[in-house]
């Protein structure tokens, strides 16, 4: 992984409170799981960013290395990696995700 790519990813993760690396865009998802993840965050009602890495193998490999997680989509909240909706779904049910998101967006509302 080049330093430039590592820095680019770190910048993206710190810029967006909720960041989804997926296949395709919000307007045109190109994978069922990416679509599910977009629907998931639309329902939660917090702003989120989707970065399409479908065609960027080097970046996909860098992301896999950083997260130790092989598949897309990959979700970051407040700079921390949270896996995908298989992880986030149960976190909605136990109320954990709402706390994390409320904290993450608290300074933006103040």
């Amino acid at each position: 992984m080049t330093e430039d790519l590592k820095k680019q990813i770190q910048d993206e993760i710190s810029t967006h409170k909720i960041l989804v690396y997926g296949k395709g865009t919000k307007q045109a998802p190109r994978c069922g799981f990416t679509l599910e993840t977009i629907d998931f965050f639309n329902q939660l009602g917090f702003p989120f960013e989707v970065k399409d890495v479908l065609a960027d193998n080097e970046k996909r490999e860098a992301l896999t290395e950083i997260t130790n997680w092989p598949t897309l989509p990959k979700v970051f909240i407040n700079g921390k990696f949270y896996g995908d909706t298989d992880i986030l779904g149960p976190m909605v049910e136990n109320g954990e995700l709402e706390r994390i998101l409320t904290d993450a967006f608290a300074d933006a509302r103040a």
């Binding site: 092989p70 598949t71 896996g83 992880i87 149960p90 976190m91």
Partner: protein
Amino acid sequence: MITHAELESLIHAALPDATVETRDRTGTLDHYNVRVVSMLFSGKSLLDQHRMVYDALSGALKDGRLHAVELKTEVTR
């Protein structure tokens, strides 16, 4: 594509005690729902539990036999 039995045996190689349920989502044997229940998940975060299963499936994910997994993990009660 990968059969249900192959998928199960990959998971059992890493998690011998696991109860594994597989469901083919698309009829193409490459998009699966997988539920894994194991004692070996005990004390691990959900993220790490999923990593353990993905590690077991890494070969099949890399060579393209398996495209996508919707995964659910639980600690044996």
